[in-house]
């Protein structure tokens, strides 16, 4: 891995959300990825995963296929991505222009007791992404570089941005009501009308 700064997931999540100006959809992966997205401010275009570890990226890809004119961002942890590495090669083959993948890599399965993932010692997720065919994959060197890369990614992808982050837990916990989360998200995407 390149020599990159260890950053904070909540801080970076806020920075990312602040760059969203066109009702971009954001899929928050299981655990801390979606908790910090929730804490960064409610948006009707956010989908918070409550289970199905590893599926943030495939879900985001599905949204991107259905709504090619809306940019979609997946926020996923290192442990989750390691569960579903094949999804990177699927996306590389299909080359969706409106998809950005952000990986929060703290080198641990944080929510289960901070056991080390393979990225703590040997695996390099950017190298894996590049090897999967996602040529536009890179580590964010610091906060400014992260913001610059996100802004660039939102212009067209697919892009993968990986950020080395610290071991701080998420600052809040998402309300766990899957039907409400899904329904609000579909209204946020203009698929459903708000009955109120």
């Amino acid at each position: 891995m390149a020599n990159v700064k260890s950053m904070n997931r909540f801080d970076l999540t806020k920075r990312l959300v602040a760059l969203l100006k066109h009702d971009e959809a954001v899929i928050g992966g299981i655990g801390n990825a979606n908790f910090d997205l929730w804490a960064a401010g409610r948006r009707p275009q956010n989908f918070y995963m409550l289970g199905s570890m590893g599926l943030a990226i495939p879900i985001a890809f599905g949204v991107a296929l259905a709504q090619p004119h809306r940019h979609v961002v997946a926020l996923e942890g290192d442990g989750s991505l390691l569960m579903q590495l094949g999804s990177l090669s699927t996306i590389a083959m299909q080359r969706p222009k409106n998809l950005t993948i952000v990986i929060w890599d703290n080198g641990i399965y944080q929510i289960t007791g901070s056991q080390p993932t393979s990225t703590a010692s040997t695996a390099d997720l950017v190298a894996i992404a590049q090897g999967s065919g996602l040529a536009n994959s890179a580590w964010a060197a610091d906060e400014d570089d992260f913001e610059r890369r996100v802004a660039e990614a939102l212009k067209g992808g697919p892009t993968l941005i990986a950020a080395r982050i610290d071991d701080k837990p998420a600052v809040a916990t998402t309300d766990r009501d899957p039907v409400q989360i899904r329904e609000r998200f579909m209204r946020g995407l203009g698929v459903r009308d708000d009955p109120n």
Partner: protein, 178 residues
């Protein structure tokens, strides 16, 4: 198309046409020998967006996202692939009320030669029943279009997934030793 051609329409043509008439535009799959003619028919029709996935879980994730984005979609797999799905069905598709259309080419019965496939097959219906998921085992071509068309409409109307188990009686299955 004349009557003779209608009479000889294959099971995979019926599936393709019923998906199309129900505006199911996205079909993702993990390859399977028995499903090959259906996969080829869908690839050959520009109405569909279709591609292979690396795992059935991944395909379910894509279908979930597509539905939330306003696109109906289906997943094709074989029995052993279905056996990898209980976690994502129970933690995503069912609680989020996603009308995923799941087609399973049934292996493990009616002449199975691989004991592993036979055992995996026995896990499928108990999983579906445990989650109270609608499922139909389709054995007859004269019932195929009716079951598919009605069930797709029901899945969408009731916001619930449905699984179509395509029996070897319908598809021919995989021949012994094949």
């Amino acid at each position: 198309m004349n009557d003779t051609e209608t009479a000889v329409q294959t099971w995979h043509q019926v599936v393709r046409d019923t998906l199309k008439s129900n505006d199911v535009k996205l079909v993702v799959y993990v390859p399977d020998r028995v499903l090959t003619p259906l996969i080829e028919a869908i690839h050959a029709d520009p109405f569909f967006t279709t591609f292979p996935c690396t795992r059935e879980e991944e395909a379910i994730g894509i279908v979930t996202g597509a539905w939330m984005g306003g696109m109906k979609s289906a997943v094709l797999m074989q029995t052993s692939g279905f056996a990898t799905l209980p976690n994502v069905l129970a933690s995503l598709v069912v609680p989020c009320q996603i009308p995923a259309l799941i087609f399973v080419s049934e292996r493990g019965t009616l002449g199975e030669f691989n004991i592993g496939q036979a055992l995996v097959c026995r896990t499928m219906r108990p999983v579906l029943d445990a989650l109270a998921m609608e499922h139909h085992t389709i054995t007859r071509q004269d019932e195929l279009a009716f079951i598919l068309d009605r069930s797709i409409k029901q899945a969408v109307a009731t916001q619930a997934p449905v699984t179509f188990i395509l029996s070897p009686l319908l598809t021919g299955g995989k021949a012994f030793g094949g």
